[in-house]
């Protein structure tokens, strides 16, 4: 199996982007964006998660089976959370 070792340069770059995104999260939290606050925070958190998964957890280099399994768990989670809105959105 391909060990897909990544260079320190690339990993350091990803770490840098994660730190920048963290700073943006903190900065955005101080702005009053109204109902958009949640969405902005979630998008940034999603980007950070994606970077960790793709590079630190090597998902970028895995087979379709592993990627598919992971995407399925995300899909299930989205479904679970989405179905809660049948309640929350209509109270």
């Amino acid at each position: 199996m391909d060990p897909h070792i990544q260079s320190y340069k690339k990993l350091g770059g990803v770490l840098g982007v994660l730190l920048v995104l963290t700073a943006i999260t903190v900065g955005v939290s101080r702005l009053d964006l109204g109902s958009l606050s949640l969405w902005v925070a979630m998008v940034i958190a999603g980007m950070k998660s994606a970077l960790v998964l793709l590079f630190f957890m090597h998902l970028k280099y895995e087979s379709w089976l592993i990627r598919g399994s992971f995407l399925m768990t995300i899909g299930v989670l989205a479904l679970f959370i989405g179905f809660m809105f049948w309640d929350v959105a209509f109270r």
């Binding site: 768990t73 299930v76 679970f80 809660m84 049948w86 309640d87 929350v88 959105a89 209509f90 109270r91």
Partner: protein
Amino acid sequence: MTSFYHTPFPARFRGVWAWLLTLDHKRIALLYLGAVMFWFIIAIVLGFLVRMELMTPGRTIMGAETYNAAFTLHGVIMIFLFVIPAMPAIFGNFLLPIQIGTDDVFFPKLNLLSWYLYMLGGVLAIVSLFADGPPDTGWTFYVPFSVSTQTNVGLTVTAAFTLGLSSMLTGLNFITTVHRMRVPGMGWLQIPLFTWSLYATAWVQLLATPVLSITLLLVVFERVFGTGLFDPARGGDPVLYQHLFWMYSHPAVYIMILPGMGVISEIIPVFSRKSIFGYKAIVGSSLGIATAGSLVWAHHMFTSGMSDVAVFVFSFLTFIVAIPSAIKVFSWVSTMYKGSILMTPPLFFALCFIYLFSVGGLTGLVLGSAGTNIQVHDTHFVVAHFHFVMFGGTGFSFFAALHFWWPKIFGRMYDFKRAYLSALLIVTGFMLHYVPMFILGLQGMPRRYHDYLEQFAPGNLFAGLGALIMVPGLFLMVINLMMSLKQPVDAPADPWGGTTLEWSVPSPPPLHNFIERPSPGEYPYDFSRVGTP
């Protein structure tokens, strides 16, 4: 042929270490069997005491606080330490690798770790009994009570968290094993139905259990740090807890029942001497139940203050789950139609299962319908319903599995007369125990109450009498099976005339299950290949 009992794996360990450090899936299954039966008996005794307390109005044998602790522990132990792990951990571990023609699960060390986590969870549950007072929340740990009560809820939810981790790892192991270790030549539609049911269950274990784990962790956070997630005064939402709890705990019902359905799908064709009716439909319905059953959790919350839209959606989805469940029942009954039926204790238990599960399922529709649900919510009707499903379903399929695979696991046959007698006592006591609860519920008797009005006395008396018949039957069943262990190992490889691969290996099986690579047939239930037992 030397059985696995005489060939430790790894070979360097002897005596008790050969069991405690074993990597053999069959030994691990037996470790689970011992532990699960221990907890089962404890939970039975607790349930029996609860019912004795309710036999007459007022205090009968215990006070209200002890009663609260007793029903909480009965529920926690039964659910997390018996019903959820019993079938996958015992029979799944023992039989899944054999049914797919391989020598072990994909991750043997992870399998042993699962057992240790299970034991740790059990120890934590015991410790919670004696430290700061046993929990009194019921097995659902609903907020805000679970956050405010001074009893030892933190330790009990930690126990449930640990048991959930064990369950997840078992699920992960089974999924990987089914994907990667099937004997060459065994396609997906040649897999026996018990293994199929374990596979469907494993996905639910893997995907739903983390939700409960996180939720229980949040309860600990609430208690320790006061985060306010479920506190309306601080912007939290107590109904959110119920969503998160049932997001796992309703799929958990299918973790409990699906393997039981797999067992029945194995037993019915063997004793009908006839190929299973609707193999593909049963496979599809297992996956259908696993999928649809994961999306109906909020039918537990119709009176919680949830939106009407959610009530409508979840009620509708609940009715959809009835379809794959009915497909299974129809297929089992159709298998028996014009079959050459041979009555044995496993078949007797399986037939009881079909009847009791059907009653449990149909009364589930009463609860799934929002209008009637509101009338009987949190009454004894609910208690009767889920005991018909969990005990009449999972419990009876567990007993059926014990009697079906006992000769395979231990190489010994048990006494049939005592087995029938115990089954009769259990099923008679069961009916007398739970049917009055349906009536009590319709009359409006709430669940989890220590005392009740005089008008509920006759129903509670009958239910108590049912327990007095059922519990001796349960002990007789266990004693009968244990007594068989005194006999010499003499069970044949295939005492029932089964067709799946576990019946092609000696009883008990050798260490690596197969002496040579097995050849799966075109179809796992081809009875033209075997003779009459």
